[in-house]
Structures are given as structure tokens and as C-alpha cells.
Symmetry: D2
Subunit: 344 residues, 4 copies
């Protein structure tokens, strides 16, 4: 077996960072990671001070972040589980120091710097960085991972929608002129750990609401990787009273009638050999609880009797395949390890 | 004040029946209702034996059901909160005995008897009954209520979808040829009180799933009252991990660009003077918790910047405006009482 | 019917205040209340700006708070739904202006000013005010309400525990030397509306935790009104992943063996004629959902076979009988109205 | 490394069986297990037919159960995740065939056969089997595991209560004459997978209730392993609106005053070297979400200022340390593997 990789993680104070820590502490192909904390969290010396439930999982030493400290830790790979603006600043430093970076923020997800700056209201990232960045959806772009220096880990909603639609798009089976409706629902870990009115228990429990309509920053990821015009996609997001998981219900009209067998075969062929995407047989639908606390994306569908209207249901754990799990899957690709290592 | 109406209720063992009992026990325009129970429940003599939490709400005497018993109770109006097949049998008997009936089942909701028999896999109701039946959505058909002998109380999903779309349909503002997507989510009281694998706490909690795709029996109500072809509507239903409420996210393309002000004005005008439909101002969206435990239907919307793509959010309590509340609203119409009597 | 009372409410921005507003807007014996807002909320002119779900409930005009404004509104009664320190300041002013006050805070609940100051870490209230204050648990102290000028509305936990234990205490049936264990569980509205880490949805959902052990400020209310020594009571509080409700499990040993019939009879006799306390028959236990969204306190019990060990289960809605409902019940007592007016 | 053990599992259709399957499919010290199904489930040929969410976890072949089939599978160890009555029948057969058995039912948990028969209303197990059975709480009885042929896996509630109290009991620090109150709360997976009225989502969600008071079958396990008289323990059980986890709040008076440091030291010493019990530092309390989806039991406590009254909080996942995780821990002990193998 090849030697274990040395890995650092910057920013593990949120839900995605915590999930990443749990995955990395158990990963068979890497050394115990070093955690680098910033700002108020920099005082912690061990991850169990921040997350007492990690006691018993083994040592998880923390250090205050500096590029120098990461370099000296011997890390070859660094995960950035940091806010967009922090990633914009830290990624160039770390790349400059010779490290390979998987960034979980939105900073480097778009080919065109203006897409980022207009949707995120932040400075544009340098175009050369974007030219070299890989959009880290391994089921589409795994071939680019072995040589990648900067991987932009996709958003949670786009992962579910792109994986759900890409086979149909590539096959040309969608009646694009009628438009595609992506009605997406997410658990509350997706809204971040910072306490806000909107995430107070009493405002989420026994509630359900749409939010961010026509304004969600994940919109341009969806259209860019599906090759659809903004005006032909309605992408809506909702908050579910659950902690974890995204379920996207994707409704569309087919360009020509198809049978359920054809649809299922298309998906099975597209995802053949990809262990983290599970295709459900025609007539069965995946549910949120099948993927919560996993790193899978499950896809199923329903077709009307004439074979004209299609509903695709794509679901995943927003902290798993939608964030930390996919980040580790990207690391696996960079390492040349099996893509599911440490993830099943 | 006019004398109080005398009312009977058949079948109060489910969630909608229980909600109906609570509304009627407090209604200012009716006498204390008499409850008629069938089958295994016919042994109960007081509603508090069935629902101990009703103690303290006043007497709620029960009797075994028979048409004769209802007649002798002096009731003029009868609510049927019974299964479809039971309503098919009981409604003609009760109408024949001179009573006026509000039926909460699906038995009499369609103009064409075949629509019912093909979607519900049950015998068709007699056509003359359907000819005289009123589809009990008072915001559309209140004018027919004063003289109605049989009111078919609408389904919970159709109530939310029809109220959400009808103003746009009547205005001709929708690009129908692109289709309309109604992505609907319901709380678990909508699945009935009978224990099933699918409604076990552990299978609903922290879960979310689509069900009944292209097969839900509420589909033909939606198309019939919107004048849309089946092939142009994608109507999907999902189970939320909450007890009460339906939220329908309705996505569509407009036939011509509109402003948010125009959309809001259209809805306000359409529902002017209808106290149980609340229109949210442009830029604000209703949430499930705003309508849970109420008899309102709340409607809001989001429009894209060019004014082309529209998302309408329509929500209600499936036991309130989606069932028992609407049944009482229909009674109010039959009585000539204000439509919100006993409902706010 | 006597003329309707004129009422003002100060502070309706929290969950208890909102519940109070809903009760008062529907109360048959009072005029539409006036709402007085303080601090940042003083800008609102109508309660629907703060709580959009109140639209359709009728006018609920708001004004910035001042003693003068309350006086000029014509109010005879004022509810203070304000923080402890604010009530400490406002109650004397309002009483001085001739108004009668129901205070929902902890400021005036104790006979001894030092009890308040040592448990709440705030200045002691003036002793003369405490001498005249009524502890607003109407099932015990209703006789004092007609003449009361200041009513201290009890805490939510103490209401459930005192109502559950007082019959046994007065009868002398408890083996006090063995101690009494009050294991109490509350929904999250009890923790207030301010967003905090502890009330983030993800930290409450699918979770359960004890908190405030041996330090909860409701402790001295319990011991004062039960006549028990602190050292003989273990009072613990837990946070439930529900919005509303308190269930207290009270475990104790009886001084001498009793039968279930005796226990039930004791409770029925004690609460005879008190419509808001419902005693469950021996062998049946109340549940949180029986009292959520009501103003009842439900009490049941289990006795071991030898009649020695007793578990009393007492539950209520922390916003109903545990706060706003009880405040209205106190108002009813001050008015000479039936204690359940507007509450069932 | 020693060769992998060969293991069979009988009955994986419930929640504990499913959890056991997940643990065994990933266990580093055993071969892929064989699953034996009974009754209606015997038709399944692969576990993914029963639990579609296991797809991607590797093969999990199933066979109809017979003692012969288990024997021929080459299994040395068998887990019985079967109803009490089935275990009573199957365990003797399997032991007779030379297999070593871990039984998750209550059938073999008591020294005295009458204890079982009187609490479970089932035939008494043969006394010789009980004489040789080990009560599988490894933190107390690990020394007996290497030679054990029959291990009775403890109940979920008793595991939490016994682990929480045993250090105090052995130290003689409890004022036993005052009694001990164990107020326990469990998630709904503990109520089994069979749909019942009591486990319908709508009857659990937003609800909380006590059940089984003075009648719960876990009671005699608690008293037997703590050496307490029934009359000195009040053991109550409640249903939480969560899927997983038990939190027991144990209230007692100390025989003599102690400091928090002494209490913490007692627990740390008692559980020194036991990786699956985590002691929380004085002043911090474990929560359900710290142990959900883990195999840990977490214990914390609060002491009053005089050092007289003590509240111990003990929590675990009822499917983890409370059932399947502990069963695997027992297997580890039988194998001579580290007790946490495959469990952290």
C-alpha cells in the first residue's frame, strides 16, 4: 500500500468542517490530519475542546492557522472549510507554498470571475487560478483530479441537480424549450451554524418554507454545468425541518417519448463504475433517510404513462456528498486512491 | 341573530373528523352537533372516550350511525367525514331523507362519474347526484352554496393549487404551452390515522420523500378546475416530517413579462373580500407555520428580474382550509352566514 | 353582560407575548387591546408588521410605550410581557398611575425580596410591592384576585409542579423525608425567541438535554409554594425537541400506602370546579400533545402495586397555562369573569 | 492479525438487526456475515431487498433460517436479533450445534428463570442455560466473555442506568434508604418497527409521554445488577420525538457529602481503560446528539452546592451501545479482540 498522505484542514468550526474532521480521522489512506483554526477558534489546542463528542475518536491536534504553520506541518494537501472571502485570500497563499488545495467555498467554482463576483458580491478571484481550478464533481471531472492543484468543491444543491440531470442533458432527451424546474429542499445544517432568527428551532420545526427564490448563489453552478440558459431553468430552494439532506425534485418534459427502461438504462450506463451514485430501479424512489449520514447521491425517477413527463428525484446528504464527503472523494482522486476510500 | 343550525357529523375517528369536531363545538352559529359513529367506533357514547383531550370542551354525545338516527336528531346539515366508499353509500340516503350534506371524501368532486371511478378504482357515483353537487371551494363557487344540497369538499392539495393558480389562469397570463409544475409538500396528518409502515415515526422523522408521482388521485381535481390538459401539468406530492400543513410551490413561465406589482394586484383583486385567503406582499413568502392550526390559505410569489418566470407559493393547513375548515366554510355558505364564522 | 374591560399589553415581541396577543384579540370580555412596544420594536404601528401571520385577525394597533401612553389609552389592566429588569422598573410606574398589572416576569413572584435578588442576580423589588402582590396560580389563590393590583404570573415549570403536588402536600400523604424528584421537560419556546447556539435548530432537533441543574431560577417558586425544604427536592429541567409544552414527571414515596382510587379522588376533590385542570383517570396518563395549544394543565398518575411509590405526570403548554393563558386566567379573576373565559 | 471470525445473524428485519448488519458489514475482524431470515422475510435473498439503502455496502446474502443452515454456513458465532419467544427456542438449538450465541432479546438476562417468566409472561428459560449465560455488559463482566457460549445482551434502558449508577453503588456512596429515581427517555426506534397507533408519526411528533410506569420489563435488570430493592427504585420510561437515543436522568441523595472532584474521580477510575464509556468533566453534561449514531455511553453529573443531592445523566444510542453496538462489543470480548473494534 502506498504511504499515507499528509493532510491539513483549515476551518473546522462549522458543520461541514466537523463532518470533514470525522471523515479524515477515519480515512485509511491518510495520516491523522492537522487542524488549523482561525480567529476566535485559534485558541483551541485539540478538536475535542470545540466538539466534545469527538472524545474517543483519537487525537485531533489544532494549531492557529498560518501558511507557514501549514507548510511546516508537512501537509501536502489542504482543505479549506472557510468562508468565501477567506478562501479567496488563503488559497493563493497555500498554492504559492506548493500545497494542493480542496476549497469547499464558492470562490473558485466558476470559469468566469464575474460570475462569482456578481452572485456573491465579493471581489473576483484571479482568472489564472480559475483557469487551473477543477470543478470537483468527480463523476464528471475525475480525469482532471490527479494533476489538479486547486479543486473547487461544488455546492450541495448543484451536486444533486447536476448529477440528476446530466445524463439526460448529454443524451439530448430534454425538451429544453419547455424549461426545467428544479424544486430543491434542504436540511438546516445547510444554513450554517451561526445562530440566526431563521434557524431558531421554533422557526424551523413544524415549518417549511421557500427562500432565496431567483437569487440563490448556487444557481449559476447549475446552469454552467448543464449548459442551460438561465431563463429556461426555475431553481427553487426550501428549508426542511430536518438536520441533514437535500432532495431535489426535477420536473421536465422529454423531447420524445421514452420508456422507463430506457431512462433507467441511460442512468445506469452514465454512472457505471461510480460507487457513490446509486441509481434506483424504475418504480422506486430514494428518500432523504437513505442518504443521510452517507456519502452517496441516490437518483430515482417517475415517468408518466405516455413517456412524456419525467420527474427525477436526486438526493444526498448536504454534509456528505454535498460537502465534506465530496471533498474527500476529490482528495481520493488527487491521490489516485479509489474514489470511495473512507466514504462507504 | 338567526337561530342556530342543527348539525350532525358522521365519522369523526380520523384527523379531519377530529378537527371538524373541534371547530363545530365552538361555532357560534350552530347548536352543539351530534356525532354519529360507524363500525368499531359505534360503541362510544361520548367523543371524549375517543379523544380524551376533548375533555373540558363541553358535551359531545355520540350515537351509532343510521339514517334514521340522523333524521331523528333534528339535524338539517350532515358532514360526512367518511371513506370514499362509505360516502358513496351514505350521501344518497341522507339526501333522500331531506338532509343537506357536506362530504369530505372524493366521491362527488368530479363532473364526470368516470373520472372518479378511474382514479379511485371504485364504482362511479350516480350522474344526477354529480349534476347537483357543488365543488366546495367557496372563493370560486360561493354563489352556489345557499341552494346546495350536496357539497363536495375539495381535496387538500387541490385547494392549495387551485387557489394559487386560478387568478393567473383566468387572466390568461400563463404560457400554458410550456406547462406548469406544481411541487406540493404535505404534513403527515394528510396520510391518515391508520398506522402504516410509511407513517411510522421513524420512517417520517428526519426524512422527506416524494410519493404517488403521476398517480395521485388529487390530480384530476387540479386539472378540472384550472382548465389545463393533463399533459401540461406536472403535479408532484411529497411527505414532510411535520404533522400539519401543505405548501405548494408552483413554477411557471408567463405568456408576457409582468411586474411584481401587477402580479400582486391581480391576486388582491381576485381575492378581494375573501377573508380566508391572505395575499402576501411582493417580496415576502408565506411559510407553513403561518397557516398551521388555522383556516387560512396564504399565497405569495417570487418573480424573476425580467418578469418572465414566476414561482407561486400557496400554503394552508391540510386539516383546516384543506379539509375541516373548508367544510365549515361551506356550511357557512349554505347557512348564509359570513364565510369566516367560527373559523378565525 | 358587563361592559368589556380595557386592556394594554407591554412587550409582545417574544413567544409568550405573541400568544397573549392571540388570546386577547379573541377574548369575549375585553375590548380590543392596545399594544405598547419598547426599544427597537417601538417603530411598529401594527402587530401584523411584527407577526405577519396575525393578518386577518383584526386590527392590533401598536404604540411606543410610556406610562402616560398606557394611561391615555384608557386601559385599566396592563400585562407586562417584559424581561425581569424591565418589569421591576415598569410595574411600580403603572401601579402608581392607578393601573392593575399582571406581570409575566419573575420580578414579583417571591415573598422575600432576597429570594429574587439572589436567584436572578438583579436588584431586589421593593418589599411593599411584594406584600401586595398575588402569586397568580388561580387554582390556589383565586380568592385574592378580585382585589389584586399586582399579580405575579407564575413560571411555567412551577405551575406544572405545584399543581401536580399541592393536593398531596396539603393532604400530608408524601414521605417528605425521602425527598421528591421533579424531572421536568420543556419545549423550546420556553427558551425564548432570541437566537442562541443552544436554540439553533440543529442543536435541538433529534437531541435532548438536561440544563440548569441545581441552578434553575424556577426552583424557589416550587419550594415556596409546596412548603418543602430545598434539600428535599431535586428539580431538574430538560429541553425537548418540540416547540411547546412542559411535562413534569414527579416521583415520590407515600407516607402510608394508598390505593389508586384514593389518589384519584384526592385530586378530583382538590380541583373540583376548576375547569382548566383536568384530572386523568387512574391508569391513563396525559401526554404533551393533549395540552399543546391549550390552556389546560392535565394531571395523571401511576401507583405501584403496594401503593407506596407514586409517579405524578403533570403537563401543560408553557405558553398557555404556563404563561399567557394563565395571565388571562388571572385577568378573568380580577374582572370577576369565569376563570376559563376566552381560554377553552 | 488473527483470521477473521465467521458470523451469522438471525433476524435482521427490525431496527436493531439493521444496525447490527451495518456494524458487521464493516467490522475489521470478521468475515462478511451471513444473514438468516425467518417467517415472511425468509423469501429475501439479499439484505438490499429488505433495506435498499444498503446498496453499495457490499454483498449481504440472506438465507432462510434453520439450525442446519447456520451450521453449514461455517459460522462460529450467531447473533439472535429475534423476539423473546423465538430466542427461547433458537438459542438452545444453536448452542446444541456447538455455536456461540449473542442474544439481543430478554430471554436469558436473568439469573432466576421466574424473573423472566413473571415480567415477560412467557415460559421460563431452562435454568442450566441461565447458569452459563453471561450478562453482556462488558464494562462489568468482560472477564467472562472469552469463555462464554451464551451472552445475553442487556436492555437499552438498563445499560444506561447500570453504567450510570454502578460506580456509586460499588463505592457505597448512595443514601439507599431515600431511594433512587431513574427518569429515562428513549427515542422511537426503541419501540420497534411494527406500525402501531403509538408510533404513528403524528402521535410521537411534537409529543412526549411517559409509558409503562411500574411495569416496564427492563425494571428487574436494573435492580438485579445494582443490588437495589424494587421498593427503593422508581424507574420511569418516556417516549421522545426523536429516532435514536436514550437519556437517563438519575436523581439521588448521597450518604455523605462529596465534592464534584470526588465524583468525577470515582467515575474516571471505574471506567479507566473502557473506551466506550466517556466520562464528562464536572460541570458539563452529555446530550443525546453526542451519542446518536455512536456506540458510546456518555456519563456526566451535577452536584448541589452542599454536595448532598446528585443528578447523574447517562446517555447512549439505544441501537448502538444499547443494542447492536453492545452485541458487537460482546463479540469482540468473545474473540479476544479490543472491545472497541469496529465500533468507533
Amino acid at each position: 500500500m502506498s504511504p499515507r498522505a499528509r493532510v491539513g484542514v483549515v476551518g473546522v468550526t462549522g458543520y461541514a468542517g466537523f463532518q470533514l474532521a470525522k471523515l479524515l480521522l477515519r480515512h485509511p489512506r491518510i495520516e491523522k490530519p492537522t487542524f488549523f483554526l482561525r480567529d476566535g477558534a485559534a485558541k483551541f489546542r485539540c478538536l475535542t475542546e470545540l466538539f466534545p463528542e469527538l472524545r474517543g475518536w483519537g487525537d485531533a491536534p489544532c494549531q492557529p492557522y498560518s501558511t507557514q504553520a501549514v507548510k511546516e506541518s508537512g501537509a501536502e494537501f489542504v482543505f479549506l472549510s472557510t468562508p468565501h472571502e477567506a478562501s479567496l485570500e488563503l488559497a493563493p497563499e497555500l498554492l504559492g507554498a506548493g500545497l494542493r488545495v480542496v476549497d469547499l467555498s464558492g470562490a473558485f467554482r466558476f470559469r468566469d470571475p464575474d460570475t462569482f463576483s456578481s452572485w456573491y458580491k465579493l471581489p473576483a478571484p484571479p482568472r489564472p487560478l480559475l483557469d487551473g481550478a477543477v470543478y470537483g464533481l468527480p463523476e464528471m471531472y475525475a480525469a482532471s483530479l490527479p494533476g489538479a492543484r486547486l479543486v473547487a468543491n461544488p455546492g450541495c444543491y448543484p451536486t444533486s441537480v447536476i448529477l440528476g440531470l446530466r445524463p439526460l442533458i448529454e443524451a439530448g432527451w430534454i425538451a429544453k424549450e419547455r424549461g426545467v424546474v428544479c424544486d430543491c429542499k434542504s436540511g438546516t445544517t445547510g444554513a450554517g451554524k451561526e445562530p440566526k432568527c431563521d434557524t431558531h428551532f421554533v422557526e424551523v420545526n413544524e415549518n417549511f418554507r421557500a427562500y432565496g427564490l431567483f437569487a440563490h448563489r448556487h444557481t449559476p453552478e447549475v446552469t454552467e454545468h448543464l449548459g442551460l440558459a438561465h431563463r429556461d431553468v426555475i431553481f427553487s430552494t426550501h428549508l426542511l425541518p430536518v438536520a441533514r439532506g437535500i432532495l431535489s425534485t426535477i420536473s421536465l418534459w422529454l423531447a420524445a417519448p421514452r420508456s422507463a427502461e430506457q431512462i433507467e438504462a441511460l442512468y445506469r450506463q452514465f454512472y457505471f463504475g461510480r460507487p457513490l451514485v446509486r441509481i434506483w430501479p424504475a418504480g422506486k424512489l430514494p428518500e432523504l433517510q437513505h442518504v443521510a449520514h452517507t456519502n452517496f447521491c441516490d437518483i430515482g425517477f417517475a415517468l408518466d404513462a405516455p413517456g412524456e413527463r419525467l420527474i427525477v428525484v436526486s438526493c444526498l446528504d448536504n454534509l456528505g456528498k454535498g460537502a465534506a464527503g465530496q471533498a474527500v472523494q476529490n482528495l481520493n482522486g488527487m491521490l489516485g486512491a479509489p474514489e470511495e476510500a473512507g466514504l462507504i
